[in-house]
Symmetry: C2
Subunit: 417 residues, 2 copies
């Protein structure tokens, strides 16, 4: 673990000031000092550097509180950009965001993950380059790429430790290889952790909150954020909620565990259950040989929303298991908020939200100490890709030397260059 050269390093200070300006939109130096607890001279120093680097600009005058009206500061959106890439079994999503987190470009396509990585990564790199060109973003303003996928991962080495999407990806250095092709830093991270931090950055949760994100795409993942930092654990393979057991007597999962949540509540299971009901499968034109479970799941979710009793029963059953796991994660992490993110909640979100809220109201261990709110993500389907780009901003803007005080939750992002 790196130790900071000065306890409470400049890097951490810088990150806090940037985060306060970002969250406020516009803010004066005096307000920055008040909000941060830093001394006015320290604020002046940090702000001067940020202005010199072009990250922050002055933005007129605020209201006077007696004397001269204070100069306001804001982020310069076009100063830097960040790219988020979500690599999934079936689909790939690329987003470009500016320094304030606003999306300035997006594309998605199928098939990448079915190629071997030697072929897929150059293809992916071309798509990134094309998207940056379309969005008119100069390469030297791109801080890096946040490449997010499901776990387990060897994050420092930029390798996936799972034979998915296909066996050829297992152990392949996806982070370093993509960095080499594109010539920009690449950060490999977990899709659900990315989705979780994206919510914070986009202002959707209270900055002091301890919240969990349940991320459902074709699989189910999770992330926990404590006061604006991702909970990492010993190797950044934390909060793998899709592979906690909901049934001690359940079947073995390829992950090695038994009775995993994903095999009771995940989209693939819901689609399989729907295919076993011929009337429903026919009505929704489900493809019995399809591997793109998301399309099938989306149809079932839409039918459930529309009042189809059989479809609704299947979604309810999935929501019941997910509620069960939500109670577990709440009891262990003592969460005050649960955010539902990812493509599978984009359609069926309200049904899940209602069910999970009922379950945590009734069953959460600390309900006498505080309530737990269940909310839908502000980022919808693209939460993980946006979060991947946010992780790069968070990491790169803090300065080039990774120096964190001991005891912070998040280890600094590991970047492949």
């Amino acid at each position: 673990m790196p130790t900071s050269p000065v306890w409470g390093s400049r890097s951490k200070t810088r990150r806090m000031v940037l985060d306060l300006i970002r969250a406020a939109g516009t803010i004066s130096r005096v307000e920055l000092a008040t909000s941060s607890g830093l001394t006015p001279p320290t604020i002046s120093d940090v702000v001067r550097d940020l202005i010199l680097e072009g990250l922050v600009v002055e933005a007129g005058r605020g209201a006077s509180t007696g004397g001269k009206p204070p100069t306001l500061l804001r982020l310069n959106p076009a100063a830097r950009y960040s790219v988020g890439v979500l690599l999934e079994r079936n689909a790939c999503v690329i987003v470009v965001i500016d320094l304030t987190g606003r999306q300035v470009g997006r594309t998605s396509f199928h098939g990448t993950a079915q190629m071997p990585p030697e072929q897929a990564l150059p293809f992916l790199a071309d798509r990134v380059t094309a998207l940056l060109d379309t969005a008119g973003v100069a390469r030297d303003r791109v801080l890096g790429i946040g490449l997010v996928s499901h776990g387990p991962q060897d994050r420092p080495a930029g390798r996936l430790l799972t034979p998915q999407p296909t066996g050829t990806w297992y152990g392949y250095p996806v982070g370093p290889r993509l960095a080499e092709i594109l010539g920009v830093p690449v950060l490999l991270d977990n899709d659900a952790a990315a989705a979780a931090i994206g919510e914070y950055w986009l202002g959707a949760v209270d900055p002091r909150s301890t919240y969990g994100c349940l991320y459902m795409s074709t699989g189910i993942g999770g992330g926990v954020v404590v006061a604006g930092e991702v909970y990492r654990g010993s190797s950044s393979n934390s909060v793998e909620i899709g592979h906690i057991s909901v049934d001690v007597h359940g079947d073995e999962c390829p992950c090695g565990n038994r009775g995993c949540l994903e095999n009771y509540a995940g989209p693939a299971v819901v689609v399989r259950q729907a295919l076993a009901i011929p009337a429903l499968a026919g009505r929704l034109a489900l493809d019995p040989d399809g591997t793109d479970f998301l399309t099938g799941f989306t149809r079932i979710a839409a039918a459930a929303n529309g009042g189809d009793t059989q479809a609704r029963h299947l979604i309810d059953q999935s929501a019941r298991y997910l509620g069960h796991a939500a109670v577990t994660i709440t009891a262990l992490f003592d969460l005050d908020t649960i955010v539902l993110a990812g493509p599978s909640f984009a359609v069926a979100g309200p049904i899940y939200r209602t069910r999970l809220q009922q379950e945590v109201n009734r069953r959460s261990f600390a309900r006498r100490a505080h309530p737990v709110r269940v909310v839908l993500s502000v980022s919808g389907s693209d939460a993980a890709a946006i979060g991947g780009a946010v992780l790069v901003l968070q990491s790169e803007l803090a300065g080039n030397r990774p120096t964190e005080p001991r005891g912070t939750v998040a280890s600094r992002a590991t970047i492949s260059r």
Copy 2:
């Protein structure tokens, strides 16, 4: 959340320096600067204050590395003391430790929790006073009392939010009331969180470790420590592993959840199962009307150790459920170590340890990224009481003003005065 007046406050610096001296035993100022990353002038300032306060003393000279041999520093064990009080359904344990964490006094007794708190707390205070007298500890050297019990709790208010030990304790301000009687600060905390941090303080785990503690007494609790700080969550009611569900179809628990681990693996259940086997119950002279499950459980565990097949089967079954929950907590917190602490592991620990190690080896999600070690606590039965005293040292030695940077895992202890 409090904000520090200077980012990277003196309080945090002081705590780190004390922690480094404690962990090292003896250390020079130069080594302190190297290990902490602090500048030599900062180290000199902090050490000067600690010597003036009597907390640190000079302890001869170290080996020369060329020039003048450096002066070594160590904690002054008798400078301050701390008291840990474990309040349980059946038993109460009090320990006194010195500044280095060494135990200088201990007592235990039954019956306190069956009294109403108005009667129990003065009784408890008398026992604390008597123990301090016996140990020859002056009252003005006592930093405070760490009162630990099971959750849920309202920690800032020093209240238990559970009708256990008996209904009269629910909501009673145990922290403030005990502080008032004894005239020293009282910190209310979770027994399992205390046991977890005690392991760190006593040097039993790697300081950089992310580890979990499973604490089994009459109930089952948990605590997670990240780089020397307790994971707190939104209200310090975290890691309630005894009340996560191991069976979605299980019975309702008084806690509100369904299929809770405690009702499958806890000592009360093992005793109940043993009582249903007349030959076993007779052989071990189990009391069918007893409420002191620990005594019965200890007999069953001892018999299992001694090769009694029926007893062994019951302990194995409990260990199987506990292993299941250990896999869950490992998948969520990405632990590298699991510590088994508390009286129920003091006898049957080796059987549980072996079983849990097998389960996490086979089933932990991140097993390809790193191994997970299962170890027995160095503190045995008294882990929670010792940990309670350690939490007071950790909290009080950092200085009187609670000032923590944003983003650290642990909120500072809340002390009733």
